[in-house]
């Protein structure tokens, strides 16, 4: 599903150049649930941005579902993001003047799906994350866990190949975190490929594989026995 070969990325900071990714190689198959761990400055966010086509690598190859991701212009990147990727952010990033349902329906708007169908599909995904009753509430009326579940529903709505979660539990308390991880695990059980960036060990162990990043290189890549989040909920 995801193939990365010898990925390099550096940032210009004034006259200095900061080499963030120093040759990353890894492959993720369809249906995997991968945690990317590392301390701050290890390059995990940069890697996620590149995987999410929000940023471009300096060199190296990136293939997503057999499609080489290279030299994308903005329009093409937007199209690929919409088709291939679903994002889950630490700070939820819901549009505050749109109801939960409208937020979930937004990626479908950019797929030119008619309004009625958008709403139906949005409701379906809200139901999956258990927020059907909250469909017409604004994000400000929802708790943090609910917001993140709306964001997950939104990421799922476009039926992407890969879900990218950037510290999905970073802003949540541990009970809510486990609820969210439970949801992510269930989505993974349905066969979706998910990458989770986290620095929390317990969250990482709820995935099936952990990639440890340190100073821009993969330090360790291990398969782990998945801890089901449902036992904590």
């Amino acid at each position: 599903m995801i193939e990365i070969k010898d990925l390099h990325k550096s940032y210009k900071m004034g006259s200095n150049s900061l080499h963030v990714l120093k040759g990353i190689n890894f492959t993720a198959e369809a249906g995997e649930l991968v945690a990317i761990m590392g301390s701050s400055g290890s390059g995990k966010s940069t890697l996620l941005n590149i995987l999410g086509m929000l940023d471009e690598a300096d060199s190296g190859d990136y293939t997503l579902d057999g499609v080489p991701i290279k030299n994308l212009n903005e329009t093409k990147a937007a199209k690929y993001r919409n088709k291939f990727l679903g994002f889950i952010f630490q700070s939820f990033n819901l549009i505050n003047y749109k109801s939960a349902m409208e937020n979930v329906a937004l990626p479908l708007y950019y797929q030119k799906i008619p309004r009625k169908e958008r709403q139906e599909r949005a409701m379906k995904y809200l139901e999956q994350v258990g927020l059907k009753e909250w469909a017409h509430h604004l994000p400000s009326e929802l708790s943090g866990g609910q917001k993140q579940r709306v964001a997950i529903a939104r990421a799922m709505a476009a039926e992407p190949k890969v879900l990218l979660a950037d510290e999905p539990t970073g802003a949540l308390d541990s009970t809510t975190s486990y609820e969210v991880m439970d949801l992510i695990q269930k989505i993974n059980d349905q066969g979706n490929t998910i990458l989770v960036v986290t620095h929390e060990d317990d969250i990482a162990h709820m995935c099936k594989r952990i990639i440890h990043l340190k100073d821009g290189v993969i330090e360790k890549d291990e398969k782990v026995t998945q801890v089901r989040a449902s036992q904590y909920v």
Partner: protein, 416 residues
């Protein structure tokens, strides 16, 4: 290109950001409102000034003799100049086609007008039919003096509305009545009126010029020579033609009456167009002034729209980032923001337009100050300003939107 999904998205955004939309709209609407009112009053002044000049045809020229003040060719100053029929005939031959109308007047002196044994104190003026157009008089009843009257020395008279009121008020119509002018009976054939409040000019009884000269020892004397020139395609051309005509006419009359060319009291000329020209220049200046103020009002409107758009885009940077992450193409975001900007400026611009034009329509006709009459505005000009503001508003939306979509999604999402 009608994209219903886009419209729904925009209406959603507008509905949920009412204050922002309202403020943008208000600045646009008030800009248009002020501009239209200003332009309306500019037009009102033009109407008012035109009205002031309605009394006499603006292209008319009035000539009457005075006394010479300069010794010339052996003739003493202080000599009285007398215009005569032959002058008029020569002018007719010389200037044929240069003028539209010409009238000659003779004011007989020491005449006594009597009706029903009452002495009437009105002026008697001998004239021909063209005077009606030159003085811009309207007919209330009957007819005016005509060519046949002049040819046949008819004893007919045309009186004014004022005389009709004051003397013939007890009759249904004065037409057919006879008045006695120095013993001769004149049949009233018409009633005329003057525009405006020039009642003084309604103190006159018109009789045919030939009859006046014949009956009241005028022989071939002319008291007053009037012309009306055609209007040219532009005001400047009319003024130019008027000045040429006046100069040639004066040259001829001074030669014919042996008057020094520099003597300007021997023959008087009154030329309303020169007064009008001064007024029109003044008015042009005032209109320009209004336009300048209006222009800067629009500039202020554009600036405030730009300002608001800038803030709107800044405020929405995060939203733009989210939309981009969800797969919005750059142009769809720019399009959305501009679409909203154009929609809001258009609606509020036209609202301001309709409100201000409605105000002018309703209040305008009641405005009756001197020199301001029925302020109104050219619809095309008003619509063009709205379109201008729309273009400016959308440009104002475009640049911040362009900048916003160029921001990296990650940075946009960090924007708190």
């Amino acid at each position: 290109m009608f994209d219903i999904e886009r419209w729904q998205e925009i209406f959603d955004t507008i509905r949920k950001n009412k204050l922002r939309t309202f403020l943008t709209g208000l600045s646009v609407a008030s800009g248009i409102f002020i501009l239209v009112i200003l332009l309306g009053f500019g037009q009102g002044m033009q109407n008012g000034i035109s009205e002031e000049f309605k009394g006499d045809a603006v292209t008319s020229i009035w000539v009457w003799p005075g006394r010479t003040t300069i010794e010339y060719k052996g003739l003493n100053p202080g000599r009285r100049v007398q215009l005569r029929n032959e002058n008029y005939q020569t002018v007719q031959a010389m200037f044929d086609g240069d003028y539209e109308k010409a009238s000659i007047l003779y004011f007989p002196s020491n005449v006594k007008v009597v009706y029903n044994n009452d002495l009437l104190v009105y002026d008697v003026v001998g004239t021909n039919g063209d005077l009606q157009r030159i003085e811009n008089e309207f007919l209330s009843a009957g007819r005016y003096i005509n060519e046949i009257d002049v040819q046949e020395n008819a004893k007919v008279a045309v009186i004014s509305n004022k005389i009709k009121r004051e003397v013939f008020g007890h009759l249904d119509t004065p037409i057919g009545e006879y008045i006695s002018i120095s013993g001769a009976g004149f049949k009233i054939v018409g009633v005329f009126g003057e525009y405006g409040e020039e009642e003084g000019e309604e103190e006159r009884i018109f009789i045919p010029i030939s009859t006046a000269q014949l009956a009241f020892s005028g022989s071939d004397k002319i008291s007053n020579l009037n012309f009306m020139l055609p209007e040219m395609e532009s005001f400047e051309a009319t003024v130019q033609k008027n000045n040429d005509f006046t100069a040639r006419l004066l040259t001829y009359l001074k030669q014919a009456h042996v008057v020094a060319p520099e003597d300007d009291r021997a023959i008087y000329i009154w030329n309303p167009i020169q007064d009008a020209e001064r007024f029109y220049q003044l008015m042009g200046g005032i209109k320009l002034f209004f336009w300048v103020i209006g222009f800067f009002t629009i500039v202020a409107g554009v600036v405030s729209v730009s300002n608001i758009m800038l803030i709107v885009v800044k405020e929405r940077t995060r939203e733009i980032g989210i939309r981009k992450a969800l797969g919005a193409k750059p142009w769809s975001i720019i399009g959305m923001i501009m679409h909203e900007a154009i929609f809001v400026t258009a609606i509020s611009g036209f609202a301001g337009l309709i409100f201000s034009m409605g105000l002018l329509e309703i209040v305008g006709p009641y405005v009756e100050v001197d020199y301001i009459l029925n302020p109104s505005v050219n619809f095309n000009v008003a619509v063009s300003t709205v379109l201008l503001l729309m273009v400016a508003g959308s440009l104002a939306g475009f640049f911040p939107a362009w900048k916003a979509v160029k921001v990296q999604v990650i940075e946009a999402l960090r924007d708190e």
